[in-house]
């Protein structure tokens, strides 16, 4: 079986990758008052690698993502990102007074920004909504626009902060496929922060569990995509990850 199994969920080891990693985090620490949320955390994300970051709420998932996004000035430690970073937030954060296309080109200092924006919108299936006001979009459309806004920047590292958690189940399935297609086409490194173990298993090359301010567990997933949640390798890994998150597997007390 391709996926590594429960006992083999290991502590961090440098991840093999070609050339410089897309992101490299060394001994990253973040304190809020006397609470240490990230404690000398080490992490490397390879170029084009799809990493999912799991963790209980309050485990510091979002803190790590914000640090990588450059939104946190109070972190200590080393943090290098190769290439540009783009973020898709949990709420789509479209600027309501800018039409969809203008949301994509906001701060985009490249020639033919409008053309690039239209191409990105076409890729996420929103070509005909380019002139719409964001408040008229459905939840799924808004999240797709947010993805397009991140991708049009051609990032080396794409940060996804639970962007699918507010969507209904059907829309989420569609968007999962879309994200995989976009990732395959553009090959950015992806860090997906999520609390959904199944989502991580379906999408990622590698799953990390954040606990106690560090990467406590890590597992590579080599099951070929598209994956089905009932794949035997994924089933056992799911139990292992749930256990790592402090949830006892179904059917056991």
């Amino acid at each position: 079986m391709a996926a590594r199994l429960p006992g083999e969920v290991t502590a961090v080891a440098p991840h093999p990758s070609d050339g410089a990693p897309a992101a490299s985090v060394r001994r990253l620490t973040r304190r809020f008052g006397d609470r240490t949320v990230l404690d000398q955390l080490d992490l490397e994300i390879g170029r084009g690698e799809f990493v999912a970051l799991l963790g209980r709420s309050g485990s510091g998932k979002s803190t790590l993502l914000r640090a990588l996004a450059g939104l946190d000035d109070d972190v200590e430690g080393g943090l290098t990102v190769d290439g540009s970073v783009a973020v898709a937030f949990q709420e789509p954060r479209l600027v309501p007074w800018k039409r969809v296309r203008a949301n994509l080109t906001l701060g985009l200092a490249v020639p033919d920004a409008d053309k690039k924006a239209d191409a990105a919108l076409a890729e996420v299936g929103l070509a005909e909504r380019a002139g719409a006001w964001p408040l008229t979009l459905s939840g799924g459309e808004a999240q797709r626009a947010s993805l397009a806004r991140a991708l049009v920047r051609e990032p080396g590292l794409l940060l996804l902060d639970e962007p699918f958690s507010a969507l209904d189940a059907l829309t989420r399935i569609t968007i999962h496929r879309l994200v995989l297609d976009l990732w395959a086409a553009h090959r950015p490194a992806v860090l997906l922060v999520t609390h959904d173990v199944d989502e991580a298993l379906l999408l990622a090359d590698r799953v990390l569990v954040l606990d106690g301010g560090r990467i406590a567990h890590e597992a590579a997933i080599t099951t070929p995509r598209p994956r089905h949640r009932d794949h035997p390798g994924l089933v056992s890994l799911r139990s292992a990850l749930l256990a790592a998150l402090g949830v006892s597997p179904e059917g056991t007390p």
Binding site: A69, G70, L71, V85, A86, V87, F89, E91, R93, V95, P96, W97, K98, R99, L106, G107, L108, W133, P134, L135, T136, R153
Partner: protein, 277 residues
């Protein structure tokens, strides 16, 4: 029958946005005219029978005739032109000051510390009470009138624009950081458009208070304008002229309000579409 249809419609169309429509029933709108017209009729009857003496309040028919006369002999257009000029000059000066100070206070902590305490102190002053000082400082010409309007206008604009800037969603500011916007881009694309709805509220308030300030200012030593016309009419117990002047004031107030509404509709289309859904 209709109840049955309603029931099936609900079952067939369970969307949450299928709200009941509040359509005004035909025949309702004219009913709203009955009581105002009755009031005017009673007023006319009271005046005609001598129950309401002209020195207290002229009859509606007299007022209408006077309005036509004043408009015809040029008195009213001249007075309106003078008053409108005062309001526009005062409004322009007050708007520049109010908006400028709001930007200084809104866009930086240092600016806020410098400007806001002073504005909060001045706001507490009853500005109509400043008229005696203004007369001492600026005489009895146009300056004190225009400045009083400017002062009245600047505060609602300042307070609302400042609040609007500070009320801009912090998540959008964070987004701007991830999009690598410069500070100038942040102000232009996020902060100012975000503050616009609240600023327009301030604009409407300030235009309302501009007319009020003008009326008060024109009661003092004016030799032209609507206020002068009204004051002059008082000397001769011309209640008809006074009422015409008051009606013109309110018409001008409604007109400027309509202009702002139009402005709002054009500037906030992104919100109107949402609300219309």
């Amino acid at each position: 029958m209709s109840v049955l249809e309603l029931g099936t419609a609900v079952r067939a169309d369970p969307r949450p946005d299928a709200r009941p429509q509040h359509r005004r029933l035909p025949g309702r709108s004219w009913q709203r005219w009955i009581s105002p017209l009755a009031l005017v009729a009673a007023w006319q009857i009271a005046s005609s029978t001598g129950l309401l003496p002209t020195r207290l309040l002229a009859a509606p028919s007299t007022i209408a005739a006077t309005a036509v006369d004043l408009a015809g002999d040029g008195t009213l257009p001249t007075a309106i032109a003078v008053s409108l000029q005062r309001v526009l000059a005062g409004f322009a000066a007050g708007a520049v000051a109010g908006l400028g100070l709001a930007l200084v206070a809104g866009l930086g902590r240092a600016g806020e510390n410098a400007v806001d305490p002073i504005m909060q102190m001045l706001r507490a002053l009853p500005f109509f009470g400043l008229i005696p000082l203004f007369i001492l400082w600026f005489g009895i010409g146009e300056a004190p009138k225009v400045l009083l309007v400017a002062l009245a206008v600047s505060f609602p604009l300042y307070l609302n624009t400042f609040a609007g800037i500070r009320g801009v969603d912090g998540k959008l500011a964070e987004l701007a950081r991830t999009l690598k916007l410069t500070r100038a881009q942040l102000i232009r694309h996020i902060v100012l458009p975000g503050a616009l709805p609240q600023m327009l509220v301030g604009l409407r308030q300030s235009l309302g208070v501009a007319w009020l300030a003008l009326i008060v200012a024109e009661q003092v030593n004016a030799s032209a304008g609507l206020g002068y016309m009204i004051n002059d009419a008082r000397e001769f117990l011309r209640t008809d002229v006074i009422v015409v002047g008051l009606l013109v004031y309110s018409a001008l107030g409604l007109l400027t309000d309509a202009v702002v509404r139009l402005l709002e509709r054009r500037a906030l289309t992104w919100r109107r579409d949402f609300l219309a859904r």
